[in-house]
Symmetry: C2
Subunit: 230 residues, 2 copies
């Protein structure tokens, strides 16, 4: 098997670590994710890449999965109110209007197949049943995608034809919020699994930097939504 | 890395090969898939596991991804008519009634990381962007899941409350059939990619058995839906 270039990988890990705190500062990082992500970083052979705690989106696109031509009309990482959506559904979309809810997705890079196996086991235990290895490369390491089957892609409107009547929105939003919650519940179980199992080998540089930021592992509280669930 | 036990793996491959033809005979195998699956088997280091060419389902379940408590009320691997769905939507479901469309999913087992890499590249080229390695085991080999982002999970009804009115069904079914078609289009591109690239190393036992069944690679026509697309 391909050997990972540990020194290049290490430099990338520290870059991603710095970027994490920059993203947090500018409000770009979904705060619900921070404690979970830190548990990956404190392991010597692990860091994270782009991740999401789960979200509700209104998208104007031909299909729910379309990327290039999608315009995200509304996005939130916490439960929504009918009133927030009712105003949008009223207007004619350029393509089609979709209500999309997704569960958590976390991308992880590791330096060995042994660590990759252990992390996949932790993720599956937590309920992230669709997790796997995306790619293996010398400099970027073994890239994992930890993900769930939690998903809703509901057609709200086609141009001038409303598919889901405004009078049905209360019920639909209730279900969408439940779907979001199911995803957060799995993220919470992941937090608990990571707290029990991480780090495999402590990353002293990261742990020292955490302390410098006034954080210790004991102070790593579960995300807020998780406190209700534990 | 873990070494694959080639003789155990080989025995499993030949068992799966026999089962494929039994499944075809009893109508359990989705025929659209056959030519695609055969292209995997003719490679010495590759076989397939459970797979699906993409389908439209009506499910009575709390969430679209629920397994244990799901009852599939309707299932079809080809486009549907509004009339087929209108009768079902009329009745009160036990939980909730969902219209779920999924793209193709193919599970593949290989004996080496090198083959796994090549197959993942072929799958991604064909548009199966969510493909990855699920697990690695001595006897079962390296298990890949080749899959797409093509998905629709639309809420039709909650108990007594209809979320999508029957008058909107024509438009919704049109979109569902388009989603199914997008999946088949990717499967068709996979067929073309496989035809160009497989086998890496011919599996003479399989090729001989194919000939015994009156099939040769030249006779492996693209699936019917694919002929319109090529």
């Amino acid at each position: 098997m391909l050997r990972i270039n540990e020194s290049v990988w290490r430099r990338r890990k520290l870059e991603f670590w710095d970027r994490l705190w920059e993203d947090l500062e500018i409000g770009y990082l979904d705060e619900d994710l921070l404690p979970v992500l830190i548990y990956f970083y404190i392991d010597r052979g692990t860091h994270t890449l782009s991740s999401c705690s789960g979200r509700i989106i209104l998208a104007d696109s031909t299909f729910p999965w379309s990327r290039e031509e999608t315009s995200v009309v509304y996005k939130k990482h916490s439960p929504v109110d009918t009133s927030e959506i009712a105003g949008i559904i009223d207007k004619t979309p350029v393509r089609r209007l979709w209500l999309n809810v997704t569960g958590p997705i976390i991308h992880v890079s590791t330096t060995s197949m042994d660590i990759a196996d252990k992390i996949l086991a932790i993720a599956r235990n937590a309920g992230m049943k669709h997790s796997g290895i995306l790619s293996i490369s010398e400099n970027k390491g073994i890239i994992l995608e930890l993900t769930t089957g939690v998903k809703l892609t509901h057609l709200l409107r086609c141009k001038d034809e409303l598919i889901t009547d405004i009078s049905k929105l209360d019920k639909l939003v209730e279900v969408a919020n439940q779907v979001l919650y199911e995803g957060k519940r799995i993220l919470c179980r992941l937090f608990v699994e990571l707290r029990e199992n991480m780090p495999f080998t402590p990353d002293e540089t990261i742990i020292k930097d955490l302390r410098r930021r006034g954080l210790t592992l004991e102070k790593l509280f579960p995300p807020s939504y998780c406190r209700e669930l534990l």
